[in-house]
Symmetry: C2
Subunit: 242 residues, 2 copies
């Protein structure tokens, strides 16, 4: 290989690495934005802050723009650079992660809309509902932060704990919903607003599912294991064998 | 180009086309399976058929297997054949469609689980709920059938009507849920089973969203337009301009 040819190759690979890094940076930027949307939506609901809820809805466009932009970056990268093996896995993993981040953004929007509905409902809100939203909201935000940190550090091991957290979240969601249903039976005039709290809890539970998907995409990207439809013990076993 | 070289190239392209066709066939197979899962889950709920509900849950594994298999086919195709332009769009579009089909399968499972819960609940079911499930279930199944036919014929135009149907579905979902909430206030002893009907309606509404996603993936695949986050009029305008 001539000196000149080697220079050109090196240049191509450097540019490819730069593009991959730029892609991951954009994903983390989108992640940070979505994380803020979730935190703001939960705070808006708990504090009955309709102004903050409207701000969350107004930011939707920004999330959507990033979604389309990152997706186009992925397609361009595959078409032009034709990555193979781990680089291809990275691009495809990011392409799927974008979908989950976008849907987390959708769930944050739903919570913001519920906040506006709750503000218009005349029946007295019941404290127990807000306590559950605060608790599940905190948990979901911690999970989302962890998974984004794991992406930033490219650390697949860090995500095993996240899947375990999602199981706890599902259990808390079931318990909280059960409590609220019991309350409905005794306070039938508050059913509409209690149901809105249930919808908000369900949105949080779904965000937890998307965080788990994000963790799976990262494991796939880093380790090349497809972990969907396996339980935690199997995943741990597969990671240990790598 | 020598005669021999041309033969080899032709052979390579033929194999690539065969692989793309096989990929699309697998997607349609998965679509057919998921369509049956949704129809069976809705019928199980309406008829209180716990045996059929259990059969839906047992078939989940088959859907999951196809999901992983098609996804691996997509990755292999990109890595080995390095498709560009419309072929790459097709593979990436299929890779995203698989995610939506898998999630439609998840929603069918939820409806099956709700059927089992409803069978254990002692409070009398309310007819109005079943009427709504039947109506929305029929609509969702028609939409799913249409979008799979559109995939089979590679007909992006056929999907514009689907997005319109999803708007109608959302409206019917809102009305039906409103009716059920009104009933809850008057029949507080039936709240738990009425809520299970509401969850089933919500699962159907989400399936409608996934059908709309499938339509968007197909438009992207065929036309190269990213139609997410645009309204119907804009999409029609963009298709007309192509």
């Amino acid at each position: 290989m001539t000196q000149e040819k080697m220079q050109v190759d090196k240049h191509i690979f450097q540019r490819f690495d730069e593009e991959l890094t730029a892609l991951l940076d954009r994903l983390l930027e989108m992640g940070g934005l979505v994380e803020k949307q979730v935190a703001d939506a939960v705070r808006a609901l708990i504090e009955g802050d309709t102004e903050l809820a409207s701000a969350v809805l107004a930011n939707e466009e920004q999330v959507d723009d990033l979604d389309v932009e990152i997706d186009q970056m992925c397609v361009r990268l595959i078409a032009i650079r034709q990555p193979t093996a781990s680089d291809l896995r990275l691009v495809l993993g990011i392409s799927k992660s974008v979908l989950d981040l976008e849907r987390i953004g959708d769930e944050a929007n739903k919570i913001a809309k519920l906040t506006l509905q709750l503000a218009e409902q005349m029946d007295a809100p019941i404290e127990i509902g807000y306590v559950s939203v605060r608790r599940l909201g905190q948990k979901v935000n911690d999970m989302l932060k962890s998974v984004l940190d794991a992406y930033g550090n490219f650390d697949a091991e860090a995500t095993v704990g996240i899947a375990r957290n999602d199981d706890q979240l599902d259990e808390e969601y079931q318990n909280s919903t059960g409590e609220l249903i019991a309350h409905m039976k005794e306070h039938s005039s508050s059913i509409a607003s209690l149901l809105n709290i249930v919808w908000a809890l369900r949105a949080l539970e779904r965000i937890g599912d998307h965080v788990e998907n994000l963790a799976e995409h990262l494991i796939y990207t880093v380790k090349g294991i497809d972990v969907r439809h396996h339980n935690l013990a199997e995943i741990q076993h597969q990671i240990d064998r790598k």
